[in-house]
Amino acid sequence: MSAAPQPLLSVERLTMRFGGLMAIDDLSLDVAARQITGVIGPNGAGKTTFFNCLTGFYKPTLGSVRLNHPQRGPMRLEELASHQVARTARVVRTFQNIRLFPKMTVLENLIVAQHNALQHASRFSLAGLFGLPGYRRAETAATEKAVGWLQRLNLIDKADTAAGELPYGMQRRIEIARALCVDPLLLCLDEPAAGLNPRESAELNELLKHLARDEGIAILLIEHDMSVVMNVSDHICVLNYGRKIAEGTPAAIQRDPNVIKAYLGEEDADEELHPEAVQ
């Protein structure tokens, strides 16, 4: 391993303006491979807007988002169409309000995410339908990968249930499993712990650490639950009114005067930042 590896994602002077509102103001941030980078900040700080800029929802007003793809070299995310962000750059996200395909089974949800591999195996989507061996193999491989993740996330007995019928905590996990089926280099999770009970949230912590350490997936994590962020993040970036006000290790962030000031306006600021104090 080299001493100072190139960051996986370099955000440079990213600015997103909606009319007179500066949703993101001159944000620069590096995301390292195999690490969990937490993005925190009070409501309206621009965290979700940041994700939207990464995944082709918004075209940033200024600045760039460069991904250093290990195989394909550097690419500019803000220039890619929505579907190319996942296909070419292998950056996937989940949503604060879960967006599964409710009428499809859990397994189908996970196989849809592997569509590109299947498309490739069939050369063209209609040509592969007639049982070409290559396509069959790809289909089996896709099912196996989906089943693998379902087993890892304890969802295998729900594989054939319509995703929309399952409880909330489970849907959160399915959404993560589906994102994993894209084989992401970078996984952007928007409040994955929202609505989870303490046990589920502890499981989520373990899962995220495992994904970063063992699977080598870089994770960008927006989360309000400080017990999750402080526990799993290697690096934290704090936003307030679209500006980065602090960046560093969890320990450094908890002591940072700017961060404490930004959070003071909210109730229970101390508890939020120091989960161990409450427990």
Binding site: T55, G56, F57, A81, S82, H83, Q84, V85, A86, R87, V92, R93, F95, R99, F101, P102, K103, M104, E108, I111, V112, A113, H115, N116, L118, Q119, S122, S125, L126, G128, L129, E139, R178, V182
Partner: protein, 304 residues
Amino acid sequence: MALALQQLINGLTLGAVYGLIAIGYTMVYGIIGMINFAHGDIYMVSAFIAVTVFTLLATFGISSIPLSLLLVLLVAVLFTSVYGWTVERTAYRPLRGSTRLAPLISAIGMSIFLQNMVQLTQGARVKPIAPVLVGGIDLLTVDGFTVRLAYSQILIVLVTIALMAGFTWLITRTSFGRQQRSCEQDRTMTALLGINVDRTISLTFMLGAALAAVAGVMVTVYYGVVDFFIGFVAGIKAFTAAVLGGIGSLPGAMLGGLLIGLIEAFWAAYLSAEYKDVATFSILILVLMFRPSGLLGRPEVEKV
């Protein structure tokens, strides 16, 4: 009794054709939430392609019925799919993301355009072809009335059953089908998983057009005449079928097609042949008033 049986056969034949066209309406509605009013005219275009190819084949002296049918189907499906793709590309895609009404108006414009294009290039008069598939089976005779099952009717019903089975398989079992369904449920999320949503929509239009093309060929074989206006009435009837079955639902479109065909055939036989269209349109109004989600559709919950 004999008349009822005959009308049952006629109604099923007609219903099969409506069902094939209705699938195009329902799929497009499912994926982009618009009614493609030009779909009936796509069907009309395919009937004209069928007439042209049948005439050409006759000139070349190809007289084998299965061979000429196969060739006509192939050419019609190919060209009509291209029409479907072009219509989506030129009239609807540029309007994606604008108001809901814009593509609808564009669709009506496209419908008028296609009708006039065919009228100008092919003439306004009814175009006949030499009978392709004649004869049939006499099932029974009661009081001098013979119930007859024409070969063309058998062909239409068999082709429709095969297509619908294949189509159901395509949607439920294949990668394209999953893609199509995921686009239907959440287009944004589908794109974020790396699927090219625009291409999926294009393919959906092409598939709908291909089914309409088969319907167009079948009707040409069945009636032996076409004109530039057949798309309008057939289109609205198939649209009614899709609404009756529950717009957005594929089995609904098939069921709705069959029901509309049967209702029309029995209405024509027992009530009034002149006013048979009234039956269909009354159904459209009644369904929209009392059960807008249709027979097999689920009530739509407005997303916010």
